[in-house]
């Protein structure tokens, strides 16, 4: 059955008969575009905030125009100095960090970093941080003057600052308050980045949705720590730190799966994604897009490889990315043993 590449995603997803796994790929060209809160991304792969600087740092290593989007390092209304060293430590299949949101501040971001990002085909998502609701609003108001930002990602989940950040992300009432205020201020779609350091992430997800969030990014890092037993001192000056990397992937994936069933707004999944298969898992679990984080540090071409990997997979499966999203098939207990592998 013919499918048209530029067909609206919704229409395509209503035609499951168009895809037959047993057919050779032939000339089927999948659409890997996705739409999040009215913004189209050329593919569902973004780089995660805090792992990709302001994009330009990678310009000579990879073709940034092949990315779906770039989430820039968390920006606050005023510059922040960050935490004392040591700030990072590698653990088994992961890394701890407590950077403390060191950043140049919203004004300098607009002047020095945004002009470059504006030239790219990749979308620019600006991660916004504050200590108080007023800080978040003030930061957004400054950023509203910028030309070339496609969405905001509200960081209510940073585990490494004394107030703000995760304090908001752990409390549904505070989440609603800061999301509602930010939504009122924002002239662009508002994503809310959730913390996994909660008992039930769907409670916070619904709180953000109810307060007007246009999309949810999950998850930020898990609070962890490491100790040098020789000196009996913490490995990181902040004592506790955020754990990222492949170690957290299964937990992040579970949270995306749960949240996708609890809210209607799109989800951007992240947490330890380092391969095409990781990214596909998140999409199948219900994420509309994914972010690659820690892998950027050791393999800057990871995101580009994942874009191509998703395209190849979709071609082979004769699926558009939109059909993949949330397509997890869970056998029900009363059905006999599955016959297809």
């Amino acid at each position: 059955m013919p499918t048209v590449r530029d067909q609206k995603a919704k229409v395509v997803s209503d035609e499951p008969a168009a895809r037959d796994n047993s057919q050779p790929a032939g000339d089927f060209e999948p659409s890997i575009e996705v739409e999040i809160a009215g913004v189209r991304f050329q593919n569902p792969v973004l780089t995660a905030s805090g792992t990709f600087g302001y994009g330009q740092e990678f310009a000579h290593l990879i073709d940034l125009n092949r990315l779906g989007g770039i989430c820039v390092k968390g920006i606050s209304a005023a510059p922040m100095p960050g935490n004392p060293p040591p700030r990072i430590y590698e653990t088994d299949s992961g890394m701890l960090n407590a950077i403390g949101l060191q950043n140049v501040g919203a004004k300098r971001f607009l002047e020095e970093k945004l002009p470059f990002l504006r030239t790219l085909r990749a979308r620019t998502v600006v991660n916004v941080f504050g200590y108080t609701t007023e800080d978040y609003v003030r930061c957004i108001e400054i950023l509203n003057d910028g030309d070339g930002i496609d969405a905001y990602e509200l960081n209510i989940s940073c585990p490494n600052t004394r107030c703000g950040g995760m304090v908001y992300g752990n409390d549904p009432k505070l989440t609603e308050e800061v999301v509602a205020a930010s939504k009122r201020a924002a002239r662009l779609p508002l994503w809310v980045k959730l913390s996994p350091n909660v008992t039930d992430i769907t409670v916070l997800a619904r709180a953000a949705e109810n307060a007007g969030a246009d999309a949810l990014s999950l998850v930020n890092t898990f609070v962890g720590m490491a100790i040098d037993v020789e000196t009996r001192t913490p490995r990181i000056s902040n004592v506790t730190a955020g754990l990222s990397g492949p170690a957290i992937k299964p937990i992040a994936l579970r949270m995306v799966y749960q949240t996708a069933r609890a809210v209607r707004i799109p989800i951007i999944g992240l947490g330890g994604i380092a391969t095409t298969e990781d990214a596909l898992e998140f999409l199948i679990a219900g994420a509309r897009a994914v972010q690659v984080g820690t892998a950027n540090f050791y393999a800057p071409d990871t995101s580009i490889k994942i874009v191509e990997g998703i395209r190849t997979y979709c071609r082979r499966k004769r699926l558009h990315v939109d059909d993949l999203v949330g397509s997890l098939q869970v056998p029900t207990p009363n059905v006999e043993k599955a016959t297809e592998y």
Binding site: P81, P84, R87, I88, N97, I99, Q102, F297
Partner: protein, 282 residues
């Protein structure tokens, strides 16, 4: 700077816990300047996640008589999982090499300072020696007089000293256990030298543990000489984006955190804020 998968040419053990890794990386070798570093990722093992920052010890032409540098050499000490895996590398093994990185011994007015000095003094602690060889050669080619003060825990920690011989007038070795040279810390004979020649002007270049750099900075300040330090820290990316390697450096207002990988690794020592509470644990 390039990110390339390159092959191991040779991995030569130096005593029980050091090694010299030679990588076939012509483009990166030709671009490397004194004091720069590389981020090394060992492929094909599930052992470690992040790349490891390593000083570029030297660049070498290959056997063929033709051209410029082709090999990048990394002098390493086995201290943890990453360097243990590095010690196990065999010729032909692939390594992902991001290099050359950082602001090495070519900060503003560095050569000017060297020209005004009567002598350039290198101060190395253990594996910190790896950051200094290319600088010593470059300065020797420009005709500067140089001396090396080299300290280690024990005789086995004084690797690489022989490579400096052609470029220096003297190498002073010091060990904490007295197994080679005089006993004590490297700053002992360094201070003797500074005190013996109060009228001479020195430029100091140092690389080693934080405490040694701090003590050297204190001496340089006390005797009124300029000191460039090559700083070490844990690094996540080497590209300036993770902000994991920042140290406090005097700057705007009360000070600012600067990235060892990007603004450094070489800093003027009088700009570094040597706070005890912020020791990088390496």
């Amino acid at each position: 700077m390039d990110d390339q998968v390159v092959a191991v040419i040779e991995n030569k053990p130096l005593g029980s816990s050091y090694g010299l890794l030679s990588l076939d990386a012509a483009r990166q070798a030709q671009a490397a300047r004194p004091g720069q570093f590389a981020m090394v990722r060992i492929l094909g093992t599930g052992g470690v996640l992040l790349r490891r920052p390593m000083s570029i010890y030297d660049v070498k032409p290959d056997a063929a008589p033709h051209s410029g540098p082709r090999l990048i050499q990394l002098l390493y000490k086995v201290v943890g999982r990453g360097t243990r895996l590095m010690a196990g590398l065999k010729p032909g093994d692939p390594v992902a090499l991001l290099a050359p990185l950082g602001h090495g011994f070519f900060v503003e007015d560095y050569l000017e300072q060297a020209e005004q000095a009567d002598e350039v003094l290198h101060v190395a602690g253990g594996i910190g020696i790896a950051a200094l060889l290319m600088a010593a050669r470059e300065l020797a080619e420009k005709g500067f007089k140089q001396r090396l003060f080299f300290g280690g825990r024990s005789r086995g920690d004084l690797v690489g000293a022989v490579d400096f011989r052609p470029y220096l007038r003297q190498i002073v070795v010091v060990t904490e256990d007295g197994s080679c040279g005089c006993r004590g810390y490297v700053t002992g004979p360094l201070e003797d030298h500074l005190a013996r020649y109060p009228d001479r002007r020195f430029l100091l270049l140092a690389c080693g543990p934080w405490a040694m750099l701090q003590a050297t900075a204190e001496l340089a300040g006390r005797y009124g000489h300029r000191l460039l330090v090559s700083m070490e820290n844990r690094m996540g990316c080497g590209l300036g984006v993770c902000l994991g390697c920042c140290i406090r450096v005097e700057g705007e207002g009360h000070g600012a955190y600067q990235r060892v990988c990007t603004e450094g690794p070489v800093f003027w020592a009088d700009k570094v804020v040597w706070e005890r509470g912020t020791l990088p644990i390496t």
